[in-house]
């Protein structure tokens, strides 16, 4: 019996090839897109879950408020990890990881720069699940100068993973020994290092200071321990260890400190929340946000809805053409149940085909998608566990949904009516179909507006006047390699043709590292409410002109002024925080060496216009420039057609001074890199939005074809009576265009409000321009009209002789 249904279903589908093709392909396209999005979302949600003990691991964060400035740190005090394990029974273990920046690893005679290096405590392998291929996990990082590397790093340097005990040279220093080789860290980890050096190799790690934070600290709680109750013990812990240091260094008690409105607190974040919910100072890598998860899930759902709607619309539309078949079958004695089964088996068959195509397509598209999204998603046995039931579920649900309506609707026909003449079925069920078309285009218009707003905002960010000029600035890194010669090097470069200016500084507005320090308005340094906690950057006297920044008041640093070593240039925001009406000439104070209570007096000599240096999602925070001549970056403003020649010239000069690597970037590239993630997301957003629109149009195409076919005879008659092609096209298009228009009216305002809300996340944003809605609406209309006219024009050009004969 079932075989009979199947046979009939296949024949019926084969007879209507274009219908079947549109239906299967549209659904398959939608399912493919949806599947890729699901894989993306699952990947994002799976971060750090590779750790067996993931549910018991937490990172300790610091929440600091100083002088009205609040900051969240992903890093904590150096002695914290040890104190946690000794003081609290619920702590099973704790580990510190410190990003070591870049190091040179020697391979043969070559020094290769490695950027993924970290110092870690020996407990690393007890807390995190980083399986060791070679070596002893329990003590691999115990001894100083021990190095654990990943499998691929071992292959890169030794061509083997069996390298435990081998010496390795780092930064041209010997004495390091490989003590372990671990499997590569999964891409779904919030940190990704190729080399771990034992923490004991890093003397700073033995620091007992509780008033600084620069170690990422993770705790492993014992099973059953309550993190909330554990967290509640932190204030006591801080009081116990930091009070005396605060008294000694800041000369105030913790109580006084807190009375001034300042605080410093510790809190816990579950390991598995870090990737999506944490974006603090001192993260071990760039994290993502839940916002993207929501956006992508919504797009995925939208696409699925659009694809399913198509499927239903085309199936029900086509059902009208089958009224006669139903009538004949009924006259011949087929029961209603049988007809229902017949129609259902057809739609389930189509869905099945679509799912198979979608799975195959997703498999083939995965590498491209990975490249686009910067991920390493793969199909594996794990994927199959959820994919197989989900596929069956989709086949059942979509197949039934799409098949039920035509099945019940058609099987209810009275054969007399059907056979007697033309049934006006094309119009029945049209209400539902119209509603679904409106729904589809609402979604499409919504997505178009969303994409336009995202792109507009990204372009705005990239073209915004940031208060400095990031174009044509070459940034040479690691100038501390030159030691005292850095200043000479700078002077030499300034002489080169094609170089406009050059400056040595600790940071550029686009660099990722940051340094903060504390200043007070009063020499006593006791009143915390009088303190400010700005970023403090070392710059030289050429910094402001080279960066193209603008002074608002006062003057730039000058070497002629002997006093400028204690001069300060502050940004407008810092001036606002300090509350000075005229900041020039005002003093700020800071401890030089806390042990001897030596206070240094600084004088503000200039105020610089605010410039953007962090994400444009955030407001500008206070910055203070201090004059120094030996900071680590040399920024060179160039003006030449032949940049490669200039770079090679500079490189030669560099190597005449030092054997160290010559490493450089361009400031605009660094800037672009900081928005890479947003760009990437924007591109994915664009692709899936286009897909959604294509699928919606595919449905419209099918419906228009159906409508034209339904009205073939009518078109013929009208032509005989004198209607010309444009009249016919207008007549056929009108109904659909009306629906698209309704969709625009509904979706336009909705999208407007939703995107307004998204923009709230940016401190610097551009209001949604009116043309976005116009372009989206106009675009949807044009695309829809072109889709429909293809069918209408075809119908209108048909010779009426043919269509009238078909009766």
């Amino acid at each position: 019996m079932f075989r009979n249904y199947l046979k009939t279903a296949i024949r019926s589908l084969a007879k209507n090839k274009s219908f079947t093709l549109i239906n299967v392909l549209g659904l398959a396209l939608g399912l493919t897109a949806c599947l890729l999005i699901v894989l993306y979302v699952i990947d994002e949600l799976s971060y750090d879950r590779y750790n067996d003990k993931a549910s018991r691991i937490y990172r300790v964060n610091e929440d600091l408020k100083l002088g009205g400035n609040r900051m969240q740190y992903a890093v904590c005090m150096p002695p914290l990890a040890k104190a946690l394990t000794t003081d609290f029974p619920e702590v099973e273990d704790a580990v510190r990881i410190k990003n070591a920046g870049s190091m040179h690893v020697k391979k043969g005679t070559e020094n290769i720069m490695e950027k993924s290096v970290a110092f870690a405590d020996p407990s690393l392998f007890n807390v995190f699940t980083l399986p060791m291929i070679n070596g002893n996990a329990s003590n691999a990082l115990a001894e100083p100068n021990s190095i654990v590397m990943t499998e691929s790093a071992a292959i890169k340097y030794f061509n083997s993973t069996n390298v435990v005990g081998k010496p390795i040279i780092i930064d041209d220093k010997g004495g390091y020994k490989v003590t372990g080789v671990i499997k590569d860290i999964p891409q779904t980890s919030h940190f990704n290092f190729d080399f771990f050096i034992s923490m004991s190799s890093f003397p700073d790690s033995r620091s007992d200071r509780w008033l600084r934070s620069d170690y990422n600290t993770y705790v492993l709680l014992k099973p059953g321990a309550d993190p909330k109750r554990f967290e509640a013990k932190f204030p006591g812990l801080l009081r116990k260890y930091s009070s005396s240091q605060m008294q000694n260094e800041l000369h105030i008690s913790l109580d006084q400190f807190e009375k001034g409105g300042s605080f410093f607190k510790l809190n816990l974040i579950p390991l598995t929340d870090i990737h999506l919910k944490s974006s603090m100072i001192g993260e071990l890598g760039a994290n993502s946000t839940t916002e993207y998860i929501y956006i992508f899930s919504a797009i995925g759902l939208f696409i699925l809805i659009i694809a399913c709607v198509n499927f239903m619309n085309l199936s029900t539309a086509r059902s009208a053409n089958r009224a006669k078949e139903v009538g004949v079958r009924k006259v011949l004695g087929s029961s209603r149940g049988r007809l229902i089964l017949q129609f259902l088996s057809e739609s389930i068959l189509i869905t099945f085909a679509a799912v198979v195509i979608a799975l195959t397509a997703a498999l083939f598209l995965l590498p491209q998608f990975n490249q686009l999204s910067g991920k390493q998603i793969g199909f594996n046995s794990h994927t199959l566990i959820w994919l197989a039931p989900v596929s069956l579920f989709i086949i059942a649900v979509v197949g039934l949904l799409a098949g039920t309506y035509p099945a019940f609707f058609l099987s209810a026909f009275e054969p007399v009516h059907v056979l007697k003449g033309k049934l006006r079925t094309g119009l029945k069920g049209g209400g539902l179909r119209s509603f679904l078309v409106v729904l589809q285009f609402c979604i499409s218009v919504f997505l178009i507006i969303g994409t336009l707003v995202v792109y507009n905002q990204l372009r705005y960010i990239q073209n915004r006047d940031l208060g400095y000029d990031r174009n044509q600035v070459l940034v040479i890194k690691n100038t501390y390699e030159l030691n005292k010669q850095a200043a000479t090097f700078k002077q030499q470069i300034k002489q080169l043709p094609g170089v406009i200016d050059a400056t040595l500084s600790g940071f550029t507005p686009t660099s990722s590292g940051r340094r903060t320090s504390i200043f007070n308005k009063e020499a006593s340094l006791t009143d915390q409410s009088k303190s400010i906690f700005p970023q403090s950057w070392y710059v030289d006297e050429d910094y402001i002109p080279t960066m193209g920044m603008k002074l608002k008041a006062g003057r730039n640093f000058s070497l002629q002024m002997g006093t400028d070593s204690t001069g300060l240039i502050i940004n407008e925001t810092a001036a606002k925080f300090l509350g000075f009406k005229d900041p020039i000439g005002k003093n700020l104070y800071q401890f030089d060496d806390p042990k001897f209570k030596k206070v240094v007096t600084y004088q503000i000599v200039g105020v610089i216009k605010d410039f953007n240096f962090s994400s444009l999602r955030q407001n500008i925070s206070p910055v203070i420039f201090q004059l120094r001549q030996d900071a680590g970056l040399l920024s060179v403003r160039v003006k030449t057609k032949d940049i490669p020649a200039l770079i090679s010239q500079i490189k030669t000069m560099w190597h005449s001074l030092t054997p160290a690597d010559f490493d450089y970037t361009f400031m605009d590239e660094e800037f672009a890199a900081s928005y890479h993630k947003e760009q990437q997301t924007g591109t994915i957003f664009l692709i899936f939005t286009s897909l959604a629109i294509i699928i919606a149009c595919l449905g419209l195409f099918g419906l228009a074809a159906y409508a034209a076919e339904q009205r073939t005879k009518e078109i013929g008659i009208r032509k005989v009576l004198g209607a010309d092609v444009s009249t016919i096209v207008a007549m056929l298009s009108k109904d659909f265009i009306k629906l698209v228009f309704i969709a625009i009216v509904i979706a336009g305002p909705l999208a407007w409000f939703a995107m307004q809300k998204w923009l709230q996340g940016f401190a610097y944003r551009q209001a949604i321009p009116w043309w976005v809605v116009a372009v989206a609406g106009g675009g949807a209309l044009v695309i829809a009209f072109m889709t429909i006219s293809f069918q209408s024009v075809k119908a209108a050009l048909t010779n009426p002789v043919e269509s009238l004969k078909s009766e």
Binding site: V720, L721, G722, T727, L804, E807
Partner: protein, 219 residues
């Protein structure tokens, strides 16, 4: 005129060097066995189709191969069609069906009401003006179709088996209507299988395999 239909292998000669002339005001019946080319001829005369060779002078102007737009224009102002299967638009009412040619020739809406009502009156179908075609009998439907064909006051009416789907009394009624129209000056060319209907005409052209074989003058 010649007209061929080419399918993959077979070439059918639908009209084989056919030659004929119809004078203004004539009522001509075309007869012949099934498949002899009657409908083909009528489609060409109605400018729905082009002859493959030869010439077609309509009102003194050459219209063979003149291009779709021009033909459509000539057609809607000069020719009315009546079909065996009525070819009314199911979604439109009687009134709207008849109004359609006036819309396409750009008649102002106030004029349209008058002219449609006038012609519905004449066809004695006025009381059904708001019905849909499916709600009418065959004879009534054909009267609506004729109303639609004449509403534009065409010079020529082409009727392809107008009584083919009707019983004899309805058929006679339709033939009376056509005769009336002809007497008021409209030229009529009608294809029919019925000798009875053909007697209403002035002249019968008999076709065989796409050629005129005989012309009977009736009057």
């Amino acid at each position: 005129m010649e007209k061929y239909y080419r399918t993959e292998e077979v070439e059918t000669i639908a009209l084989n060097k056919l030659s004929m002339e119809v004078k203004e005001g004539e009522f001509v019946a075309i007869m012949g066995p099934s498949g002899c080319g009657k409908s083909t001829l009528l489609n060409i005369l109605g400018m729905l189709d082009d002859p493959d060779a030869g010439s077609y002078l309509f009102n003194g102007t050459e219209v063979a191969n003149v291009g779709e737009r021009k033909r459509a224009d000539l057609r809607k102002h000069n020719i009315g069609f009546v079909f065996q299967s009525f070819n009314l638009i199911d979604e439109l009412t009687v009134y709207e069906n008849v109004e359609l040619p006036l819309i396409y020739t750009g008649v102002a809406s106030s004029d349209r009401v008058k002219r449609v009502e006038e012609v519905l009156e004449k066809m004695q179908i006025m009381h059904r003006r708001n019905h849909y075609p499916q709600q009418l009998s065959g004879g009534q439907q054909q009267r609506v179709a004729i109303a639609r064909a004449v509403v534009n006051k065409p010079k020529l009416i082409l009727a392809d088996e107008p009584t083919g789907n009707l019983d004899s009394s309805n058929g006679n009624e339709v033939m009376e209507l056509l005769t009336d129209l002809n007497e008021q000056g409209t030229t009529i060319i009608m294809v029919t299988h019925s000798e009875h209907d053909a007697r209403y005409s002035h002249r019968i052209i008999r076709l065989l395999d796409g050629q005129t074989v005989m012309e009977n003058i009736m009057i």
